[in-house]
Symmetry: C2
Subunit: 481 residues, 2 copies
Amino acid sequence: MLRTAWDGPLAPAEPRQAGLYAETMNVHSTDLRAALARIVGEPHVLDVPASSPYNHDATIAGGLRGQARLAVRPGSTAEVSEVVKALYALGVPIVPRGGGSGLAGGAVPSPGSVVCSLERMTAVRELSPRTWRMEVEAGLSTAHVHRLARENGLLFPPDPGASEQSQIGGNVATNAGGPHAFKYGATRDWVTGIEAVIAGGEIVRLGGACRKDVGGYDLRALLIGSEGTLGVITAVSLRLIPAPRAAVALVAFLEDQARGCEAILDVLACGIVPAAVDFLDAFTLRCAAGGYPGEVPQQARFALLIEVDGEGEEVRAQQRELREVLDDRCVLLDQPTPRELWRWRDGINGVVAGVRGGKVGEDVVVPVERLADLLEGFAAIASAGGLDSCAWGHGADGNVHANVLMDPGSERDRRAVGRVGDELLDLVVRMGGAISGEHGLGLIKSGQLSRQWGAAALRLHAQAKQMFDPQGLFNPGKKLP
Amino acid sequence: MLRTAWDGPLAPAEPRQAGLYAETMNVHSTDLRAALARIVGEPHVLDVPASSPYNHDATIAGGLRGQARLAVRPGSTAEVSEVVKALYALGVPIVPRGGGSGLAGGAVPSPGSVVCSLERMTAVRELSPRTWRMEVEAGLSTAHVHRLARENGLLFPPDPGASEQSQIGGNVATNAGGPHAFKYGATRDWVTGIEAVIAGGEIVRLGGACRKDVGGYDLRALLIGSEGTLGVITAVSLRLIPAPRAAVALVAFLEDQARGCEAILDVLACGIVPAAVDFLDAFTLRCAAGGYPGEVPQQARFALLIEVDGEGEEVRAQQRELREVLDDRCVLLDQPTPRELWRWRDGINGVVAGVRGGKVGEDVVVPVERLADLLEGFAAIASAGGLDSCAWGHGADGNVHANVLMDPGSERDRRAVGRVGDELLDLVVRMGGAISGEHGLGLIKSGQLSRQWGAAALRLHAQAKQMFDPQGLFNPGKKLP
């Protein structure tokens, strides 16, 4: 069953050695605080009352909350190293934290853990527009990275949303996606180097400024998407590209979902690579209609949100071609500006969460030709569980945000949500899909990888964790069981 | 010192357990042959005389040759699994082999090993043009993958060269690059799933048809570029894109190298993303002039080979823009067709190797702004070693194929080559570069990663090997010391 809350007052993850465990338990918070204050300075060791934002991330809409012991805000890689060294020696769990915009509970602290927030590490170590790259510290906001690129005529394509709040280190730690991952790939594809602090406070540098490097095994890739369970990412080297000179949007409103999914395949077949092909289902569309910069047709039950970018002439020609492909399938083809389109799209999560007071969102993927079957299957599962549901996502990637609405205070709703998630993941795996496309497993799906991976792969997975984090102190309970 | 040959008659890599080692030594080749024949059938277990092609790869131009005990050609993943299981149980080293077109000795068998050639595994398991993907077995030639894509209006962008000979499994195992990696990325970026056989014959499947998947650690990425040292890749899922509708080429001949490297930065600055920006230095240009489809100007000492692809109108506009940027820096701006350009480019390796009878090519990377310094430094090092040298490569990626010419029969040349390689790698690391951009470490640079990586990263690297291959039987002596 999927988790919608810490199930009771969990003990801190047990360190492997009994001696260390005992030591942890014996470390008084006042001693711990003093030790950490010596490293980062008094003002940067914080109490974490139950209501503290350090106790949750964006899954708070589903009621998910943890309980950290303290939060620490190191100001440099050296300080992160010292903090990790101290906590590792004491056997205290460490929860690395970016902007807290995650949707899988990856930053929700386990009871008794220390949150290691990267918020003070915002330095731009290198910005080299002429060679299309930058190196920045992990705490820099995603929006800041975007702005730095844009101001220099460049683009950092990954756009996972909540960009003012989210931090680049968190994006890398979750391999964040977003609508434009269809054309440009997820965060992974833009990271050429990582600096991280691993077990015992050791600093590792994997990769760097070069765009190609096949000398060693790709350990950089292991850290990308590791959700803070292998170490603390402190800085990243990013590659950029020249900003496309033009972009246009197209919104196709269709009368039914099956036809909408078929239209996605038609878009793929026409030989254009759109920057993004998102979709909204009927329920989502109804909730979001009020915010649309135009008129949503009454009979619309599905919408495709398409962006094409590139050179000016090319982009207009592609827009015309897409109009031709989509025209007779739609009840309306609209052309908001890309800015209007994405502002609308970015608001959807909040609008939907407000309908019942809360929602729990799954993030799953299927091969794109199974999208219609998945959406239909999910609606049936949620309905059987007595819950309202809706879905949107990155259609051409087969990446679906499947949401069930709930009252966060209702025990009945919580149980039903768990069952729906369970059946949904089963369905996805039967379709040859993946249990998470871009949000990660975090806390809500920790331990669920066994649905998708075989025994030998799972054993390697456990060994990878062991290799980076022998005592299991980095973000315990996330990703892994 | 870099290796230009197996240094004397190496023993097979020592299995970790003495018992197994003894067992290996006691396995008569006739017994081994019988055991393997029971799995793959008599005709697919082959003797490997000294002159056999199974004893070398494309480093034969530098005289590098190994000595396998037998070669086996399994016809299915199940057979690979059985073969690996049998060899692993006996402690016999296993050398996975693709097309043998590698330039780092990665497929040169260690003495006493069994070559596991994927040549019979050429099935196309899935070809789905409308969803832009295919799943193929590892032994399919790269050219075949390209043709399948092209016949369906699609493109598989990685183009590492020698495409009729090279196999897709080998491309994945080396994370092969090529000129178009500048725009499109290396092989890694196009692999969504891998099927592989690891220690003990276990089959693992990592990823699949979906373009996004963040459930588990990216173990798929560990296998990509692992050079056969972690297991045998048996099949891969690839993503494709619609073929660009047009492509044009541009060759810029310049009077000197420093100006040529500066011109690469000017190309980057103009906001266009060319598909490829290769370069040839003066010596290479002189050797290759005869094959150029046109006239190479007498005073040319450096050439840029540029391709732009995309929509027809856009491509012509970009070509005009690049001409404007490059015009007053060049002695000639020529416009062969892309096909003419790459046919010429593909022949260069062979032409240069023929000058002295042999050559040894290094494959290094530096941040692109250091390219001029690297080329100058390399020429000085080679010249101090009394060797002729030349360089070409993927300029905008900072990826240099630094070649020294040698007589493969000369002991003096061999020693000099080793010293030159040594100093070159030092220089590259001092410049913040990488010791291999796309060829891999193979045999010729095995164990050299310690120049580039720190102690903690190297420890993780060794643990990754241990985790996949506890007895150290997969391609021993390659990549790792």
